[in-house]
């Protein structure tokens, strides 16, 4: 049986609710200010939450991914005959290349033995599974299930099998947040080949980011290859980014090489820039702390492997 609330109880409840509402509004405004100022505390809070929710996220996202894959597979079913024919042709072509590669490998090994060359260590990477995306229209970001425990460092470049995807902007112990190239706040220094001109690739919320600050637009043409320039020391140079597309009005855009529609796994690269003497005393003093820290090797137990 329902008990009628007394007038005092109702008044007290209302007062408490108003105080709580005021508290919530103030807390939200403080959070908004922290968000706008790109506070590292907020990013840490975000990544702590991501660390805690990763197991639950996986449980929900796996069936959804499976359904998406099934729907995609159903659509592809009708193209299976054509795909099969193309794949057989591709296999024949690759077999010929494999033989050529083996011959080159043997030749290379013999030359190295002759010259006693010390090969530079391979650049290292960690592979992660994309477990969450930003969902809505405000931001283009993704969360990957590898983190600081696996050796990921802030600012690392993220690539898929075809090209650059974005960069690391937040790290938790078990999770990493990537800012995709398509996001409004993404800026990447790039090089247009074969002209060698430098420019900045600016995300604009579409699948074809804009090329800005191109010095001599008359020297480039549609279809030119766009790669990272390595300027700024955040990204390694020569990572494939995409190809140029001309728009009316002299605007240049880049169709990205990475397949964002089917992005399931990404590689997070560990990159240490070359030693540069760009300041007085640079030859004597060691580099900044972050560079030394980044140079530490990845532990062998890094999930997803590395290479």
């Amino acid at each position: 049986m329902r008990r009628a609330a007394s007038p005092q109880e109702t008044a007290l409840t209302r007062t408490v609710r108003r105080i709580l509402l005021g508290f919530v509004v103030v807390a939200s405004l403080i959070l908004l200010a922290l968000w706008r100022s790109d506070s590292p505390r907020l990013e840490r809070l975000r990544m702590t939450l991501a660390d805690a929710l990763i197991p639950s996220l996986g449980i929900v996202s796996q069936p959804i991914e499976l359904l998406t894959e099934m729907s995609r597979g159903y659509r592809n079913f009708f193209d299976v005959y054509t795909q099969n024919r193309d794949l057989r042709r591709e296999i024949e072509r690759l077999r010929a290349w494999r033989e050529t590669a083996r011959q080159f490998e043997e030749q290379n090994a013999q030359l190295r033995a002759l010259n006693n060359v010390r090969v530079a260590p391979h650049s290292t990477f960690v592979t992660g599974d994309v477990i969450a995306d930003s969902g809505g229209p405000f931001l283009q970001s993704a969360i990957v299930n590898v983190g600081a425990r696996d050796g990921v460092v802030d600012g690392s470049a993220a690539v898929d099998g075809s090209g650059l995807v974005g960069r690391v902007v937040g790290i938790g112990d078990h999770a990493t947040r990537l800012l995709l190239l398509t996001d409004f706040s993404s800026r990447v220094p790039v090089l247009v080949q074969p002209s060698g001109l430098r420019a900045i690739l600016s995300g604009n919320g579409t699948s074809a980011p804009i090329l800005e600050f191109l010095e001599s637009p008359e020297e480039v043409k549609p279809g030119d290859l766009v790669r990272t320039s390595g300027d700024g020391g955040v990204f390694p140079p020569n990572l494939p980014v995409g190809r140029l597309v001309a728009l009316p009005g002299g605007t240049w855009r880049v169709t990205l090489s990475a397949d964002f529609a089917r992005l399931e796994f990404v590689r997070l690269l560990r990159y240490t820039p070359d030693t540069r003497i760009d300041r007085p005393g640079g030859l004597i003093l060691s580099g900044p702390r972050g560079v030394d820290d980044a140079a530490k090797p990845i532990t062998p137990d890094a999930t997803g492997g590395g290479g």
């Binding site: 049986m1 109880e9 409840t13 809070l45 929710l53 229209p137 405000f138 579409t206 964002f260």
Partner: protein, 178 residues
């Protein structure tokens, strides 16, 4: 017999259910269905859960619980942190105040009201981003999100009503309800 006290086990169960469904809604919103910039934005499932509870069971749509869910969503997805939770909490409080009147109206009226509230919520978030001189999203994407959410709301209503047995209160009390 249910008690109207705040610690009623039925009420606590409904609060827990709302929080559980809210978390599932956030996880579904965050599931990687396509990272392409041209992909359609996910519907605002958390809004559907909160709006349903605020209208049907305002006493169980606890302010702090909704604040926690909204903040989790802001941090896990792309909504500007603070703006999403603020608009969600205010929308919930507004819908709670209309709960008694809505229970006597048709579902079409409820749908129209919620469509208007969601449009105001999304527009406010967009305006906050503009005022803070950040990059606002394209309005067409917000329109897609609004449409997808409102098309999904009747389906979720059926699920909440018939699967979880959460419907309108049987009587309208003078208090905040359960």
């Amino acid at each position: 017999m249910e008690s109207a006290q705040w610690y009623s086990p039925y009420r606590l169960m409904r609060i827990t259910l709302m929080m559980g469904l809210g978390l599932v809604a956030i996880f579904i919103e965050a599931a990687p269905l396509g990272l392409s910039a041209d992909a359609y934005p996910s519907p605002d499932l958390l809004f559907c859960v909160v709006a349903y509870w605020s209208t049907r069971r305002p006493g169980s749509a606890v302010l702090i619980a909704i604040f926690g869910l909204g903040l989790t969503r802001d941090l896990m997805t792309d909504v500007p942190v603070g703006a999403g939770v603020l608009t969600l909490v205010i929308a919930s409080e507004f819908l709670k105040s209309l709960s008694s009147g809505l229970s006597r109206r048709s579902f079409a009226t409820e749908w129209l009201l919620l469509a208007t509230v969601l449009a105001v919520v999304l527009t406010t978030q967009w305006l906050i981003v503009v005022i803070l001189l950040a990059h606002p999203p394209y309005l067409i994407d917000l329109a897609y999100q609004w449409l997808a959410t409102m098309l999904l709301y009747p389906v979720l209503t059926v699920v909440f009503r018939w699967f979880f047995q959460v419907g309108w209160r049987k009587t309208t009390a003078t208090g905040p309800g359960r």
